[in-house]
């Protein structure tokens, strides 16, 4: 786990949350409460196999059991970026995330190599 947060210092209170080794250990409540997810970038270039970023509207999800609100697939060797137009998606409890090797809800296996997950959250 190597998470950094950088306030973007704009009129809107946007924060860049960057985890340089996103894995099956969830990063919990990264916005200290509710948050709006605007963009994300998942760098799976270090891996040969797919990884899945999972985002939860929860303060402390149980990875592999708690149903994720977002699942973003990233093929081996690639980077996926996603922008959410019209104001992002408001997660009313908390913003937590993890990255595993299985789609859907299940899965507690770390990617073999580091996955860098970056979220822009308000």
């Amino acid at each position: 786990m190597a998470v950094s947060k950088q306030l973007m210092d704009l009129l809107a209170s946007l924060t860049v949350v960057r985890d340089t080794d996103s894995d099956a250990t969830a990063e919990n409540d990264v916005n200290t409460g509710a948050g709006i997810v605007h963009m994300l970038r998942v760098d799976n270039s270090a891996n040969l196999n797919p990884s899945y970023l999972k985002i939860y509207d929860a303060l402390a999800p149980t990875v592999g059991t708690t149903a994720p609100d977002f699942v973003i697939p990233v093929s081996g060797g690639v980077i996926v970026q996603m922008a959410i137009m019209q104001g992002g998606v408001n997660l009313t409890t908390g913003v937590s995330f993890a990255t595993v090797t299985t789609a859907g809800t299940a899965g507690v296996t770390n990617p073999t190599n580091d996955v860098v997950a970056t979220l822009i959250v308000e």
Partner: protein, 121 residues
């Protein structure tokens, strides 16, 4: 199920898929094989509850059982467009559905129509 697919008439075989009632009955293999998704617009304005768009890299998933590869949440009463600048690849097939539960489980239709527009190639 009310799907129309319209070619954009551009170089690069882009098409727009419009589904005016995305629900728990999956639309299967909508691109007749592999697909690259550029944008997904999900109109949940008719619903007073969250809806979830789920997509599978699979020609015949079982909604509520087959683990979705992509899950996008749209809150009540809003439209959101999800943009993938470099595209999002479905190397086997693209199938999708809309339900009211997060994660893998869930077979309940949204109460009112959810309209989905997908730009893909």
């Amino acid at each position: 199920m009310a799907i129309t697919i319209v070619p954009l008439g551009l170089t690069g075989a882009l098409r727009v898929l419009v589904d005016t009632d995305c629900d728990a009955t999956a639309e299967l293999n909508v691109n007749d094989g592999a697909a690259t998704v550029i944008t997904i617009e999900i109109d949940n304005t008719l619903n007073g509850a969250i809806s979830y768009f789920k997509a599978w890299n699979n020609a015949n998933p079982v909604v509520g059982t087959t683990a979705p590869d992509l899950i996008l949440r749209v809150n009540a009463s809003v439209t959101r467009t999800f943009v993938f600048p470099a595209g999002l690849s479905f190397v086997t097939a693209l199938s999708y559905a809309c339900v009211t539960a997060a994660g893998t489980a869930g077979t309940t239709n949204p109460v009112s129509n959810v309209t989905v527009r997908i730009v893909l190639s």
